[in-house]
Assembly symmetry: C2
Homo-oligomer: 328 residues x 2
């Protein structure tokens, strides 16, 4: 296999806006097909984006022998179901985050991928941007000294109450959809799982938060403060504070969408770094490389499950108006 | 009285670095004297800064009839004692923050000031900077829509373990010294008192935190996430998030020290504002104006007590490893 042949499950906006332009630039992957439950929609989408094949059902796409891998940009609540089906059809799976609604679900997916010998990865694209990789190196190499705290925020205003992100049966809610970034970057930069979390939320519907603030404490004494919201304006990114220096990202979760920029100050010396790399392309290339060479991806579904454990603990705490919830 | 004649109680660094350059620029105040417990130190300080009189004890200064007001930059734990003594000598008092270690202490000071007919104000200089005044107007006039959350941070590295800020008997600790800013700006911008706070701290000595993260919830649903530290590097300032827009300060608590700057985005339109005003001068002028015209200061010692109530609740929560502490 020289290039991984991808099919997209559904015509979601993120596929059009992010995945298709990204795969066009990938050296080891190509887009071979798209599937929609509506055959006409699939044909139109394929025609609009020069995709060779269009299928009128997801299952039909999964039955194609010439498809190696699928990209799943479905609503959050459908990620697990279609990841499992794709895995059982022997397809490698790159699925949008969050991979599944609980840690246990992620572990089931990991087991299914292993049993079927396929690569499964959650699409946390920001981790593949060269600036994120630089931040991770700086932090883990001790350039900022001992790391003490993070403040992170990912928030935008979603005015359509019918949006899938507000549907309880589709794993809606801001913590699930964008809070996952602040939690993921904290765990990644700290290289540690939280001991306990406290969260306070505002709900539009039962169980669907339109905003949440999360507070996490770690055994090492590190602290994280995270904001996520579908009803608030706020600059997106994170601030990492250490004993010797700090790093601030101005658009750390979508560095490639706008021109990515981070600022760091170490021992009083400030530097800024810019990089316009498309992080989706980097992610697709890494995933495809793992598929081609049968190597393990940078992070797996077990790791995605650990992120979900924190999200679920935050949701539980928010339901109890901020009561601390311990992680196992 | 055309100009308020100030005496400084002690030769603290902040008097030299901030207060003296500021009062030189004030239209309605002048610096008439300085007092130190060491007469030679007082003489040298007066000579270095062209201050007309030097006294070898604080009491001697308080006994001078030609002194209208005192500025108190003593270590935090001495603020109350010397504020009371100055008030009882009929002096108006501008005291560095925090005014006193508990809400009750602040209320006692307020009562003493009232009984003696003098003006008493805690020196929260950042509130007098034109950019802070602009932020308060934007927020309170609803320009950012409904306000949802704040993240604030004030942190620097203090390497000297003998510094007064590390002394338990002098009301040391980072939450007392710099956490007071994040708490103050949250209460000021939200125009609301927190319902409960949770905090986690790291201690260098019993009861003296060298860093703390604070999480506050409000009845209206607003949320605050605050970092303060004597052992961490971090950019200083705050981010206010609302339904229509946000404001970020890059150096919001010391806008006049460096060239002050804030950025706001409302309905997707980003603007930035710069202003190099010395906020200490503005504060001294406001205080002196209140003394001259016998008017109430913008905020009083009762208000300072409310800030202390939050600080004390955070300290209590941190002692209990983050347990929520309700405010009365």
């Amino acid at each position: 296999m020289e290039k991984v042949r991808f099919g997209i499950i559904s015509c979601a906006g993120i596929a059009k806006k992010r995945f298709i332009p990204a795969i066009t630039g990938a050296s080891n992957a190509l887009l071979a097909a798209v599937a929609s439950r509506d055959p006409e929609k699939a044909r139109q989408f394929a025609s609009d984006h020069q995709i060779p094949e269009a299928y009128g059902s997801y299952k039909t796409l999964l039955n194609q022998k010439d498809i190696d891998a699928v990209y799943i940009p479905l609503p959050n609540g459908l990620h697990k179901e279609w990841s499992i089906k794709a895995i059982e059809h022997g397809k490698h799976v790159l699925c949008e985050k969050p991979l599944a609604p609980t840690q246990k679900d992620c572990e089931e997916l990991a087991a299914a991928a292993k049993a079927n010998g396929v690569t499964l990865m959650e699409a946390f694209m920001y981790r593949f941007h060269p600036l994120t990789e630089f931040v991770i190196r700086q932090v883990h190499n001790g350039e900022l000294g001992d790391i003490h705290a993070i403040q992170a925020c990912f928030s935008f205003v979603l005015n359509d109450p019918d949006n899938v992100r507000f549907q309880p049966d589709l794993a809606g809610g801001s913590v699930m959809d964008v809070g996952c970034y602040g939690i993921n970057c904290t765990r990644t930069f700290f290289n540690e799982e939280p001991e306990a979390v406290s969260a306070v939320a505002h709900y539009t519907k039962p169980c669907v938060d339109d905003r949440m603030t999360i507070y996490a404490k770690f055994r090492s004494g590190k602290q994280a403060q995270i904001i996520c919201s579908f009803s608030s304006q706020a600059p997106e990114g994170y601030m990492i504070s250490g004993s010797k220096g700090w790093i601030v990202s101005s658009n750390g979760f979508r560095l490639g969408v706008e021109h990515g920029k981070i600022i760091q100050e170490i021992d009083g010396i400030r530097s800024s770094f810019e990089d316009a790399t498309n992080e989706y392309t980097k992610m697709i290339e890494h995933f495809s490389d793992c598929v081609i060479h049968k190597t393990a991806p940078r992070y797996d579904a077990i790791e995605a499950g650990r992120n979900m454990a924190v999200i679920c603990a935050a949701m539980e705490s928010a339901e109890k108006n901020g009561e601390w919830v311990r992680l196992k």
